[in-house]
């Protein structure tokens, strides 16, 4: 009976957040349709050649309307007609509408499929529709679902037309409306219409969109309309901004917002902060046993730093990250009792729990909204709105504020790493300045210091000892491997990480370096390295940067239009010692020393023979955290190429005279 049950459906639209957190309705594009004229035809021949350039998909029409009938009621309508030029645009044959079961019924999607001449081939049938759960990665449960329509055809080009209407008892507006849904997509016509109740306004910010909206007031509603024509396709350039920053968009927030029973406005960051503060107020009462436990833990401590460290360690031992989001649970935290009972919670609940425990010993703290991830999108500080997906805790102290990542089981207190450092956050508090930045780190704090000893034999094989001390951002992987993987898995991780021709691992260790200013881990290993040097007759060919790393190449240099983003400030320092087999001398060596220096980074490599006959190779690479204008492309490429070339230099050893 179950021969034809579909397996799980592919989810192939771009979805922005991995932990929804408080990401306020920054969902997918949503849409509109009314009666439209029958004279429209979708012949591919009618598309302007300019719109086909660099495009896999030409959006013929994309009409979206949001009609708010109150703060918490409304309807979205969308109609999308897209011509798919080739297989790379196939994802547009699938139409997805996200919805939340608590607030909406499943939307009804209709669709049609046309051939290249614009002739109707077929209509969307119920068998082309699927309703699937859309729980984001890292979450145990959410009420999010997605309704999916699919019209697949095998002969390109073809055109799909979709439309749907959906009512909701929730916040209706998404955080932003994107003119294009991705790269290599051009647009003939895109419109956005937002109908606000007459008593309300729409706050908006246009990014990459120039034309101001048309305004209209009729009876019950105040309307804002945008219309964009003939928008060419965009391509993403290497090491450039994220898709989200690249695509033109309109950011939107209604002048009145309501979540559950909480009402407010986002006309300033202070108001935004107050709203979420109040929504989460009164959830910090601790169970009596816990209150006593916390006081007992801190009984002998006077330094607030020690109290923070002690309670943070207690949190890390007693709880773990589990995300369950039902109803407005995406925005409102579970209370401290819930975490105490279950020993788990999501980022909001764990942060609230930590905050409650600190308050118990007289240390005030603020839950802080942040966009987590090592490559965050641009932040619009002039547009108070939810640009966040995560919560951390800020413990303010005179000149020495401590930040706590409450979902981590192994971070030391105060360490944020590339996940949340150096960016804007909003502190949740009843009043006062709320928009602040998390601290920035320097390359010296994010360092890998590596010492390698290589004992070469005359076959080119080697006995190799490596000691690598990693700190800051560069320790993340090591501490993660140590806590998450079994010893066997750690060894296979190490095997994959060693970039050498062929080897057997003879011994290895991985451990924390205690009492370091920034978190630091040490990895050591010993290898029996085969073919460490190439051997031909009387000569050995050695690449002294034996365990090196290869740098990415920068593409899209000529005619570059997008900035170059260097996300991580890091410093790599290597010393490699070589002991040569008896009777070998240096026949030739590369053009050492080599130095390359730019504002965004510096490299140095040198090679010398010591008095005891050993050879020493040193290498240092330092990269800054910077955003460079497109005109820097040539310099960045040259910098990377010079380093790649220098890293490949070889030394030739010869036996005899």
């Amino acid at each position: 009976m179950n021969k034809h049950l579909p397996s799980r459906f592919p989810m192939n639209h771009w979805q922005t957040s991995h932990r929804r957190g408080w990401l306020l309705l920054l969902g997918l594009l949503c849409g509109f349709s009314t009666a439209w004229s029958q004279s429209e035809t979708w012949a591919v021949a009618k598309i302007d050649a300019k719109l086909k350039k660099d495009a896999d998909v030409v959006v013929r029409v994309d009409e979206t309307t949001y009609r708010l009938n109150g703060v918490n009621r409304g309807e979205e309508r969308r109609r999308l007609v897209a011509t798919i030029l080739n297989a790379n645009g196939k994802s547009f044959a699938t139409y997805e509408v996200r919805y939340d079961r608590t607030f909406s019924k499943p939307p009804k999607i209709e669709g049609r499929l046309y051939d290249a001449k614009g002739k109707l081939l077929r209509k969307l049938k119920s068998k082309d529709l699927h309703d699937i759960s859309a729980v984001s990665g890292g979450s145990l449960y959410e009420d999010n679902r997605v309704q999916v329509g699919q019209l697949i055809h095998d002969e390109y080009p073809y055109t799909v037309e979709y439309w749907h209407t959906q009512g909701t008892r929730d916040q209706l507006l998404p955080g932003g409306w994107f003119v294009q849904a991705g790269t290599r997509v051009s647009v003939e016509k895109a419109t956005l219409k937002v109908d606000m109740p007459a008593k309300m306004e729409l706050f908006y910010k246009m990014v990459g969109v120039e034309q101001e909206p048309q305004m209209q007031v009729d009876g019950q509603h105040r309307s804002y309309s945008w219309k964009l024509l003939n928008v060419p396709a965009l391509d993403q350039e290497s090491m450039g901004p994220s898709l989200r920053d690249l695509l033109p968009k309109v950011l939107m927030v209604p002048s009145s917002v309501k979540l559950g029973k909480q009402e407010g406005t986002f006309d300033s960051w202070e108001a935004f902060s107050r709203f979420f503060y109040q929504l989460n107020e009164g959830r910090d009462e601790l169970p009596v046993e816990l209150s006593e436990k916390v006081k007992e833990l801190c009984a002998d401590l006077t330094d607030p730093k020690e109290k923070i460290a002690t309670i943070y360690q207690f949190l890390q031992e007693q709880t773990r990250y589990v995300s369950v989001q039902i109803g407005i649970g995406g925005w409102q935290t579970y209370d401290a009792h819930y975490v105490y009972e279950n020993g788990y919670g999501d980022c909001k609940a764990l942060t609230n729990y930590m905050k409650s425990m600190l308050e118990e010993v007289g240390i005030p703290a603020y839950a802080s909204l942040v966009y987590a991830g090592s490559e965050p999108p641009s932040f619009h500080a002039d547009f108070p709105s939810s640009q966040f997906n995560h919560v951390i805790l800020c413990v303010p102290m005179e000149g020495d504020t401590t930040w706590l990542e409450c979902t981590s089981s192994d971070n030391p207190p105060g360490y944020l790493g590339s996940f949340t450092d150096d960016r804007y956050v909003v502190l949740l508090k009843p009043d006062g300045k709320s928009l602040v930045r998390t601290p920035k780190s320097s390359p010296e704090e994010n360092r890998r210091l590596r010492t390698v000893n290589v004992k070469l034999d005359e076959q080119g094989n080697a006995q190799v000892e490596v000691k690598s001390v990693n700190s800051g951002m560069l320790h993340d992987e090591l501490s993660g491997v140590s806590s998450q993987l079994t010893s066997k898995e750690q060894e296979s991780w190490l095997r994959r990480r060693i970039d050498a021709a062929s080897f057997n691992i003879e011994d290895w260790t991985l451990q924390e370096v205690p009492q370091s200013a920034v978190p630091t881990w040490e990895l050591t290993f010993e290898l029996e390295g085969k073919n460490w040097a190439g051997k031909t007759g009387t000569r050995l060919f050695v690449k002294p940067n034996g365990l090196g790393q290869s740098l990415p190449d920068l593409e899209d240099v000529s005619d570059r239009t997008q900035p170059i983003l260097l996300h991580q400030p890091v410093l790599y320092q290597d010393s490699v010692w070589y002991e040569l087999p008896a009777g070998y001398r240096i026949e030739s060596q590369g053009d050492f020393p080599i130095q390359v220096e730019e504002v965004f980074g510096a490299y140095e490599a040198d090679f010398t023979q010591m008095e005891d006959g050993r050879l020493l190779y040193t290498r240092s690479l330092r990269m800054e955290h910077m955003e460079l204008p497109p005109s820097f492309a040539g310099k960045v490429k040259e910098f990377l190429q010079k380093i790649n070339r220098a890293d490949q230099l070889q030394v030739v050893l010869k036996s005899g005279t």
Binding site: H4, S7, I152, V322, S483, L485, G534, T536
Partner: protein
């Protein structure tokens, strides 16, 4: 075929009734021993992040209304030993909710842990924290997370899963990616239902015992039953290793299949007796056998295609195959049953692989060929077995057509990129079952093409270390299929060419790049270009050092593990040939060059040949790697690893050139 039968011998064994009496344990929910809660590491595997202390599955039956349902009760205890084991605290139980086919009820979960004061605590999960996720309207998940889960805790849960399918018994998997201390499976089946068991994936001692029992079916009265138990202890964790078609092949498990029903009221005494009966059943199926009848469209199109193809048998088969490819598109679904009728397939142009291949059979039969469907299990789906009859293992259908030779030609038109006489890599999984009206025949499913590349360079080296060359790169067989897929996925031809041609270089300038796709899918894919680079050449004083394998050097042994516990499978033979003809710069001679080498693995399983020859001012470099055998057992792993070590060593060798005249002058100056 040889390789496969070997692994079958290792992998599958029939369980004989154990003489030893099974040590079935009886554990009560919630009664976890203090020793288990206080235990700090698992002696059998001290590194494990978690261990399954105890798991029981027991199968029984009950009446729900008019329906007889099967129930599977699960009771499981997992001990968390390290932070990596905490993932076992999040539980998802999948079930098929579609039309109430399956249901999961009576979920109980409890965390047992030692609290700060050193006392053992047990905490139950509350009903409201057990969630039901509707995955796609058909499959659902019961989800929950253990409260206060922490390192050291014992996580215990139990549930009951009911199924309307009371005939097939669930497969029981003893092994996991963490060690299992004790696992038992108990089936209490109605007497007269005769099941055969097959143990797959490993060899650990199982204690099996059988006894008579009874089952109270309420109003249906008491039934006599057969109670069988399987107990297995101390099963090590199965660790992932690279180059394996599917890890699921290797989990140690017992599969049970109904062999016959011997009881009054059942007319068909043998429920599933033989492969022949299964074949006949498939032939009668409305989504398989009934599709084997040409539609009007097929009858109309065949004469024209044959007339165009001419008299040659293979040309005719090719024409019919290519017509099928052109007129159908795979819908990304799999299955051994056709999911669309032939008429719909031809009208809408899409269907699953079985639908497409049944269309091809109809075309071939219409053209007078003897063609039949062959049921297969794809590489990802796991190895097929021919020992006990079951259809469950198959997930795809291909085509066998007789050519009057010993073995038939196998075809699969699902992909639009394969030539007619080549099966996609995913089909190459040892064997398949040919299905005809009269019965079933097992036939080998083996590659007829290799993964083959030939690269030729005609180059010139200048005295300042610049290398310029013309390059012709041919991809044949599976290498051609891979390259075609990449070319299709690229934004355009130029992007594909510049990406593939730059591979292996640090800096290279390319010109006159061209791509030849050939006229048919059987033709090789060829790229040609002119290139100029200073990579692979280092100039130092009177010397020029040259890496003669250029960008084609195998610089890492792909087999990094010292030992393996399951086989390496290449899917198809490999053949890589490299030829460089290099004109040396004026006045330079070869001072030192790699020695030629030739190594072969036993029984022609693989070989490596390499030589560098200097002739006048020209250098000839030749390298050829061949792997003829498809599967290497863990015992043979050392051979293949060593072969690649030799290749890496040879490919790392360099040619030393010296400027003859000037160096002589230098010497005289000194």
């Amino acid at each position: 075929m040889k390789a496969l039968s070997c692994s079958l011998l290792v992998g599958i064994g029939l369980l004989l009734p154990a003489i030893l009496f099974g040590q079935v344990r009886k554990e009560k929910f919630g009664k976890v021993s203090t020793d288990d809660v206080r235990m700090e590491s698992y002696a059998e595997d001290p590194e494990a992040g978690a261990v399954v202390l105890y798991e029981e599955g027991s199968v029984s039956y009950r009446y729900v209304g008019q329906d007889l349902q099967q129930t599977l009760k699960i009771h499981r205890r997992v001990k968390i030993l390290g932070e990596g084991g905490l993932e076992y605290a999040d539980v998802s139980i999948p079930y098929l909710a579609y039309r109430g086919y399956e249901g999961v009820t009576n979920i109980k979960a409890m965390t047992h842990y030692v609290d700060e004061s050193g006392k053992v605590q047990s905490q139950k999960i509350s009903k409201s924290d057990i969630l039901d996720e509707d995955v796609n309207g058909q499959y659902h998940l019961k989800k929950f997370s253990f409260p206060n889960a922490r390192v050291g805790a014992v996580l215990e849960f139990s549930y009951q899963k009911s199924s309307k399918d009371f005939v097939s018994l669930p497969t029981w998997v003893f092994q996991e990616q963490i060690p299992v201390a004790h696992s038992q499976y108990i089936t209490n089946v109605i007497k007269g239902f005769d099941y055969r068991n097959v143990v797959m994936g490993g060899s650990y001692p199982i204690q099996r015992s059988q006894e008579g029992g009874t089952l109270n079916l309420g109003s249906a009265g008491m039934m006599n039953t057969t109670r069988t138990s399987y107990v297995c202890q101390n099963i090590p964790a199965l660790v992932k290793e690279p180059y394996v078609s599917s890890l699921s092949n290797y989990f140690y498990r017992v599969e049970l299949q109904l062999q016959g029903v011997y009881m009054p009221g059942f007319s068909e005494k043998d429920y599933l007796k033989s492969w022949n009966q299964l074949a006949k059943q498939m032939m009668k199926d409305e989504d398989f056998g009934e599709h084997l009848e040409s539609s009007k469209a097929v009858k109309e199109v065949v004469p024209g295609l044959l007339a165009e193809a001419g008299e040659d048998t293979l040309a005719r088969i090719q024409a019919l195959y290519e017509w099928t490819q052109k007129n159908t598109d795979w819908d990304d679904r799999e299955g051994k049953y056709a999911n669309v009728k032939e008429k719909v397939l031809l009208k809408e142009g899409k269907g699953n692989g079985t639908s497409i291949n049944i269309l091809l059979i109809n075309l071939l039969r219409e053209a007078g060929f003897q063609a039949d469907p062959v049921l297969v299990s794809t590489r990802e789906n796991g190895l097929p077995q021919s020992i006990f009859p079951t259809l469950r293992q198959f997930n795809h259908t291909i085509v066998a057509v007789d050519l009057g030779k010993e073995s038939p030609l196998l075809l699969d038109a699902q992909s639009g990129l394969t030539p007619y006489d080549m099966l996609p890599m995913q089909d190459l999984n040892g064997m398949g079952m040919r299905v005809t009206e009269t019965g079933a025949t097992w036939i080998p499913v083996e590659p007829t093409h290799a993964n083959q590349t030939i690269i030729q360079l005609l180059a010139e080296l200048s005295a300042d270390g610049q290398l310029t060359s013309s390059q012709t790169f041919q991809h044949k067989g599976y290498a051609c299929l891979t390259a075609r897929k990449e070319a299709m996925a690229a934004d355009d031809e130029q992007t594909f060419l510049s990406e593939t041609l730059q591979e292996g270089f640090n800096e290279v300038e390319l010109s006159e790049t061209a791509l030849e796709l050939g006229e048919s899918r059987s033709d090789p894919l060829v790229t040609t270009c002119q290139l100029s680079t200073s990579d692979f050449v280092q100039k130092a004083g009177e010397f020029i050092y040259l890496e003669p394998m250029l960008h084609q050097a195998t610089d890492e042994n792909p087999f990094k593990l010292e030992k393996r516990s399951y086989p390496v499978n290449f899917g198809a033979p490999i053949s890589e040939r490299y030829i460089l003809t290099l004109k040396l710069p004026e006045g330079y001679t070869v001072e030192e060059a790699p020695e030629p080498t030739r190594v072969s693995l036993p029984e022609g399983a693989g070989s490596f040949q390499y030589q560098v020859m200097a002739m006048g001012n020209q250098l000839q470099v030749m390298s050829e790697i061949k792997v003829n055998k498809i599967e290497f057992s863990p015992n043979e792993y050392g051979q293949i690893r060593q072969l690649f070590d030799m290749i890496v060593a040879k490919h790392a060798e360099q040619v030393v050139l010296t400027k003859a005249v000037e160096s002589a002058q230098d010497d005289s100056n000194e």
